[in-house]
Subunit: 318 residues, 2 copies
């Protein structure tokens, strides 16, 4: 599980930062990549990575401002041109379907794969399967803006094969039953408790990616206990008034949200072109004074999201 | 008058060539820049030039395929964001207005300048003022595709000031009358013929920029006697069948059009990513065997369009 920041700028593209797009690589977990926002030239940024567009199965749009949206038609068309044939689902505010379908219709573009839309009118659980859940909540921006909380389900504990062998439990289909949590009775009459031979499950990871927003309680809720929070930082700590007027966050309010939500790591993005080099570093310094575990990200930067070391879920015997 | 090739690729962006956009710089002539096609990330390419988006006053879209169109919303929005306040007119096939207006509406984008559309259903004269004319004609592509012929009107001849001084014609408002072509009578009774003291007019230049097309008579008509013809060369000379099937040109058919139209210079663009380095050079070689004055262009290349040296319009005395 890795985040790749394809664009970390705000408003308009600059040489140093493209407009917003974030890839969540779930290759080991699902053999999939999910995108969050698709600013113009996201597909160009992807050319500079090892991401293959056909691996992108879900796209989550936080809000419909152009710097988060205008790369969508090109990416979707190129995914088809390059032979993508698996379904693609796009989540986002109402309007994303109109925008994309108009672009494809006017340009006479016919996709080689099924395209699905899930338009959101409010927050809630928007995706759930055996391994991942995604929840959305509305934030506080000039237009409707969503944050997304991606929750990986716990990985089942490993079967303790060495211990089973030591106890002279014969290998075979029994092992599968034990791993699935079922107690089994051996031919010699011994009852083997699954709980004694299955390690504790590994808790899943949580990644929260927010759209543009002012400080808002929903941001804290979405980010609660997340391993990583990706938060916009359009303004510096001393520009709280501007941030409020333009419905954005400062480095400081982003850090306050991270602190209140007890996240593991705060990643600052959506940096205005006004903050170049040392000025951008200052945003990071400001945030760290509130929440030390903060990093300001750059275009094409990759951030690994490891499992929490030494943290396992409490092992409940049946 | 200069052409700047912002994108010279076909279909999908590649590292070496972005999708299509061409800037015609008319800074000395009109203090304006005109764009032909706006593929995705055209505004990103502009960041690598000295072009200021606010100088762009007209955009001509040849056809509505995404690789010629998808950069339009971002460019139009950024022109506003960067303080552009002069009108922008967009010419193109029917649908360009729906595409752009949908993008702006869905993204809640409000421009700081007036936006006009001229949707074309057929060819003809689409623009004409004191210094320039633009004619359009339909080509032969899978969807409606236009070519544009930009004709500069003749520059009035210079007043031959040295000759007037030698003839002891006193300077003053009389000079303006002479330059405007009016004969004048001096205080000493001499009649001065304007035609004797005004140089021949300098013929204007002609630039023809074609959208994607198969070989078609209209291309020759649009390009007739042009100083520069910009022509797609999606395929090599040996792929005539593929070119026909996909409604494109080969290096050879482009050159044949240039030869038939007696153009000054043929510029090949819209190069597939299959032709890298030497392979692209081969397209140029193929074209030159038919029409020697051919050049294959690259991203961010600038081509100056000088006045025809030594060519002046016949000087008709009154
Ligand atoms: Zn934004
Ligand atoms: Zn094309």
């Amino acid at each position: 599980m890795e985040l790749v920041f394809l664009g970390t700028g705000a408003g308009v593209p600059a040489k140093s930062r493209n407009v917003t797009s974030i890839a969540l690589k779930l290759l080991a977990e699902r053999n999939e990549i999910w995108l969050f926002d698709v600013g113009e030239a996201t597909q160009h940024q992807i050319l500079r990575t090892n991401i293959r567009p056909r691996k992108i199965t879900k796209i989550f749009i936080t809000h419909l401002h152009g710097d988060h949206l205008y790369g969508l038609p090109g990416l979707v068309a190129s995914r088809s041109f390059q032979g993508g044939d698996t379904p693609l689902t796009i989540y986002g505010p109402v309007g994303v379907k109109d925008f994309l379908e108009t672009a494809l219709r006017v340009s006479d573009t016919h996709l080689s794969y099924p395209l699905h839309f899930v338009e959101l009118t409010r927050g809630g659980k928007i995706f759930d399967d055996a391994t991942f859940t995604v929840n959305a909540a509305t934030l506080d921006h000039r237009i409707q803006s969503f944050g997304y909380r991606v929750t990986e389900k716990p990985h089942p504990g490993e079967l303790l094969v060495d211990a089973l062998r030591a106890a002279q439990v014969p290998s075979g289909p029994l092992y599968g039953q034990l791993k699935a949590g079922h107690d089994v009775t051996l031919a010699d009459g011994r009852l083997i408790h699954a709980a004694d031979y299955v390690a504790a499950p590994q808790p899943g990871r949580i990644v929260t990616i927010l759209g543009d927003t002012r400080k808002t309680p929903n941001a804290v809720k979405l980010a609660m206990d997340a391993d990583v929070l990706v938060h916009e930082s359009t303004f510096g700590a001393h520009e709280a008034k501007l941030a409020k007027r333009y419905y954005h966050s400062t480095s400081q309010t982003a850090a306050e949200t991270a602190r209140q939500a007890h996240v593991g790591l705060l990643l600052l993005t959506h940096i205005s072109a006004r903050y170049l080099g040392p000025a951008a570093h200052q945003l990071e310094v400001e945030a760290r004074s509130v929440f030390p575990h903060t990093k300001l990200v750059h275009d094409l930067e990759t951030v690994d999201i490891p499992f929490k070391k030494g943290v396992v879920m409490s092992h409940v015997s049946q």
